[in-house]
């Protein structure tokens, strides 16, 4: 005879187990894709092992015959990172690791690659597709994600550097009222999020920890009332303040500076533009504004006053206009598009910039596809020595040209 606790277990299990939402009909296809990825990885391991064996054999034979070792390629892409069928949404890199956030409908995935070998060193699933990834000064990895059609809520996750531990905050009325688009982490669990209801400051437990979450909403002051149609989509730091970039559905942009790290105070300054992108550097905040050949690159201080940028920043050196901007240390990277997408880089030390260098994308992949890509198709993660470029052709890294180092 069942005891009370057994009876209650049956009832509770039944209630919890049967309250699961229906899974998406694409689940079987998703499983098949996962298996294909697994088989490709296993195949790659076998091929790699075979190549190692073959390589050893060739070296042994060459040495035996007195032949020359194979010539090393010193220019162009050095390495390709294997990716599944999913799309790369955002990337960021530390000195040792490349973090890649990909959309794997209906979920998301963040993967860590060893920059030295290109090998995968960790991966973690996300409840839904990612919108941004960033690394905090303390090495924790932050990822924001959108809601999914499968009913998953949007939110933000903080991972340990190896992606094995996590702390997560999903949208809820208490702390995170809306979907986050971008994250600016400060370390020790603190970050500012750009959400579609304004900026939100959150404090999460250390990954794997169990401390309670704290969060503060700042949804009234992030954009002036007259600019309420601007949805904050990017956050960046400039001169100790938080810069927030808002965008309308029509592509109009408004960049504002909020006082203080939290970005909670009234806006101090604002500039308007079209389809702007922003990137922080020690010298100030770089911003592209406009589209097409007339798109310009500007540098702003913490009050959004323009700073001198040197002769390199003109339409001659940036043909096709400055569509998007990224930074790494003093190096500025700009995506331009005229016939082919190009990445132009230069070193900037106030008030002048050094010579520029350009990489034309993409270099054809293994199956020699030549479909054109647009600047909107790429995302990059620049570092001191390498720039990682994700495009529909996969992820490729290029050495940073000497002129830009």
């Amino acid at each position: 005879m069942a005891t009370d606790i057994e009876q209650e277990l049956s009832e509770v299990f039944d209630l919890v187990g049967s309250s699961m939402p229906p899974l998406p009909p694409e689940l079987a296809d998703q499983v098949r894709r996962g298996v294909r990825t697994y088989r490709r990885r296993m195949g790659a391991v076998v091929v790699a092992a075979a190549l190692v064996v073959a390589g050893v054999t060739v070296v042994v034979v060459n040495n035996g015959l007195g032949g020359k070792p194979a010539q090393k390629i010193s220019a162009g892409p050095q390495q390709r990172f294997r990716q599944s069928d999913s799309n790369v949404v955002a990337m960021t890199a530390t000195t040792s690791t490349l973090y890649v956030a990909t959309n794997a409908y209906p979920k998301g995935l963040v993967t860590a690659y060893d920059r030295a070998t290109g090998g995968e060193v960790g991966a973690a699933n996300l409840p839904a597709g990612p919108s941004s990834v960033a690394v905090a000064p303390d090495g924790t990895v932050w990822v924001t994600f959108y809601p999914s059609n499968a009913g998953h809520r949007p939110g933000v996750a903080e991972f340990s550097a190896d992606l094995t531990k996590r702390s997560m905050l999903l949208t809820n009325d208490h702390y995170l009222p809306a979907a986050p688009f971008d994250v600016l982490p400060f370390g020790r669990g603190r970050a500012v999020l750009a959400t579609d209801q304004g900026t939100v400051t959150v404090t999460l437990a250390q990954p794997g920890g169990s401390q309670p979450v704290q969060a503060t909403r700042h949804n009234a002051t992030v954009m002036a009332p007259s600019a309420k149609n601007y949805l904050p989509t990017r956050v960046a730091v400039v001169g100790g303040s938080v810069a927030t970039l808002g965008t309308t559905d029509g592509g109009r942009s408004r960049l504002i500076i909020n006082a203080g790290e939290s970005g909670s105070a009234d806006s101090l300054a604002a500039v308007q533009g079209t389809e702007m992108t922003i990137a922080s550097s020690q010298e100030g905040l770089w911003a592209t504004t406009g589209t097409g050949a007339t798109a310009t690159l500007e540098l702003f201080d913490a009050t959004l006053h323009p700073l001198p940028t040197g002769a390199v920043i003109n339409t001659a050196s940036l043909p096709g206009g400055a569509d998007r901007v990224w930074t790494s240390g003093r190096t500025v990277w700009v995506a331009t598009e005229r016939q082919r997408v190009k990445l132009t880089c230069f070193d900037y030390a106030s008030p002048t910039s050094g010579p520029s260098a350009t990489i034309t994308l993409p270099i054809a992949d293994s199956v020699q596809r030549t479909d054109p890509i647009a600047t909107g198709d790429i995302t990059i993660a620049p570092t001191e020595q390498q720039v990682y470029v994700a495009s529909p052709y996969g992820i490729t890294n290029y050495p940073v040209p000497a002129a830009c180092q």
């Binding site: 606790i5 209630l15 998703q30 997560m168 999903l170």
Partner: protein
């Protein structure tokens, strides 16, 4: 894989994934971990689907894969608290009919070691006999009996006094 096998797999997933997700949720105590666990188990199943389908008990295979994976997960994460903070908050305001005592019971179940939890879930959610539970867990019936008894005893100590 033959088209017919593929169609069978799609039908199997459509027909049983919701209940299997419930099982995974009870085994892990975490909705998102449950989805990961289920997808992993289904991928393992798909790799050998023609054989598993021929054997005629694909759900048993997935169930075993889920139990093994949840035990592995518990071993890896032992001592590491992972909190889905937003989810935890939502649970407090969950409009479902879980009473406070049932909520306490679920929390107590989550405190159990993976093996004991699996025995309870297989017995009381899946409705398996001791022998069937032993088959899924690949252990003896005696082990199931002892895990079961220890799990119930542990639950009684974890529950607030006066309960169960």
């Amino acid at each position: 894989m033959r088209t017919a096998d593929d169609a069978d797999f799609t039908a199997f997933v459509a027909g049983s994934s919701r209940r299997l997700l419930g099982l995974a949720h009870l085994l892990t105590g975490d909705r998102y971990a449950a989805e990961d666990l289920l997808q992993g188990a289904l991928e393992r199943t798909y790799r050998s689907w023609p054989r598993i389908n021929r054997d005629g008990a694909p759900e048993s295979y997935v169930r075993r894969a889920l139990v093994n994976a949840s035990t592995d997960r518990w071993r890896r994460r032992r001592g590491v608290a992972e909190v889905g903070l937003g989810e935890a908050r939502l649970a407090e305001a969950d409009p479902s009919d879980l009473t406070a005592s049932r909520d306490a019971l679920m929390r107590a179940v989550r405190e159990l070691p993976a093996g004991q939890r699996a025995v309870l879930v297989l017995r009381y959610f899946e409705g398996l006999t001791e022998a069937q539970t032993a088959a899924v867990m690949e252990c003896s019936v005696g082990t199931v009996k002892s895990q079961h008894a220890r799990a119930l005893a542990r639950l009684r100590t974890l529950m607030p006094s006066g309960r169960v």
